[in-house]
Symmetry: C2
Subunit: 199 residues, 2 copies
């Protein structure tokens, strides 16, 4: 349609996670159909979120304050520390309602081939944090189950081991409800490796 | 996570077409991960698009100028007029590359049950347009294949019939109940090729 500005917006939406050209077009037309008030609300939210949302000074989770709501919450079990790569991983774990401990967000994972090393993540700060919190009895390493996550998990394990706490890795295996035949080879391999004794 | 502002943005994204809660969350986190320059580029595009994009004075298609690129193009066949509901339908038809005529956008469809009548669309202007353009030999009514689109097509047919032009309805291939903009390219191509004479 030769509408340079519409094409530009479609291009921006195409970069959203999981969004293809057609969906990006729908989004652009959706924006066009919003009224002025809806547009300015949307725009201010986006601007605000960049200004107001920051990382918790303690655990790096997202927060609008200095310290996040989980770190502040006295009802959370401070003997448990769950280590994740990104703040959104906390959202996923919180959704399960089975975990009531604290978190530490690495804000990344080791990817030596891409030049992402220890200093590009908060691994150093994690070690300090554990040292300064003798109440922590167990550290649950919940990095992703991909190569970067595994590398990071192994590295953290080596660093934390001398501190004498219990260190566990979040269970890796067949997702609930999955058909065995459709589970990919690597997951199946891990699932077999991490088989559990029945009793 | 008790982040009011993040929740608000997730809610906004949930209203995008075809976007559920989980996808909206991914979008909000995507925004959070953009740098300041990327955010301001995105925000200005959205603001600009609302200010700069308007409807063509002739056919109601979207344009950044007074008159859209299709109306301006002397190579388009002005004996053919394709009537669609929305500007995005033009995008879908243009993608097929089989149509080289002009367009007229109704900016809506009749929905008597929802109180949307003739004056809420550009049907009146369409009739005027056809009257003032004796060169138009065929009008291809390409409204959606849903109830509103069919109602609109029938109504337009009755209004235009006395003007003595050939009137066709986009036909074979469009699944019943479908929104024209989401129909795949090949189906749309077929539908245009096999358009039916109305009598």
């Amino acid at each position: 349609m030769n509408l340079e500005i519409l094409d530009k917006l479609i291009e921006k939406f195409s970069k959203f996670p999981g969004v293809g050209k057609r969906t990006a077009e729908r989004f652009a037309f959706y924006i066009l159909e919003l009224n002025s008030q809806e547009v300015s609300e949307f725009v201010s939210l986006i601007q605000e979120i960049k200004n107001k949302v920051r990382n918790c000074k303690i655990c790096n989770n997202l927060t609008q304050d200095e310290i996040c709501s989980i770190c502040k919450d006295p009802r959370r079990d401070s003997t448990l520390l769950c280590v994740v790569e990104e703040p959104r991983d906390i959202l996923a774990i919180e959704r399960t309602s089975v975990y009531n401990g604290k978190y530490f967000v690495l804000l990344g994972a080791l990817a030596p081939l891409e030049g992402i090393g220890i200093n590009d993540t908060k691994i150093g700060e994690l070690v300090e944090y554990v040292k300064n919190h003798p109440e922590i009895k167990e550290i649950i390493i919940s990095t992703d189950a991909d190569m970067e996550g595994e590398t990071t998990a192994n590295y953290i394990f080596k660093l934390l081991k001398p501190l004498g706490r219990r260190i566990t890795r979040i269970g890796v295996g067949i997702p609930l409800g999955a058909d065995l035949e459709f589970v990919d080879k690597n997951t199946l391999e891990k699932a077999l490796k991490f088989r559990k004794e029945l009793s």
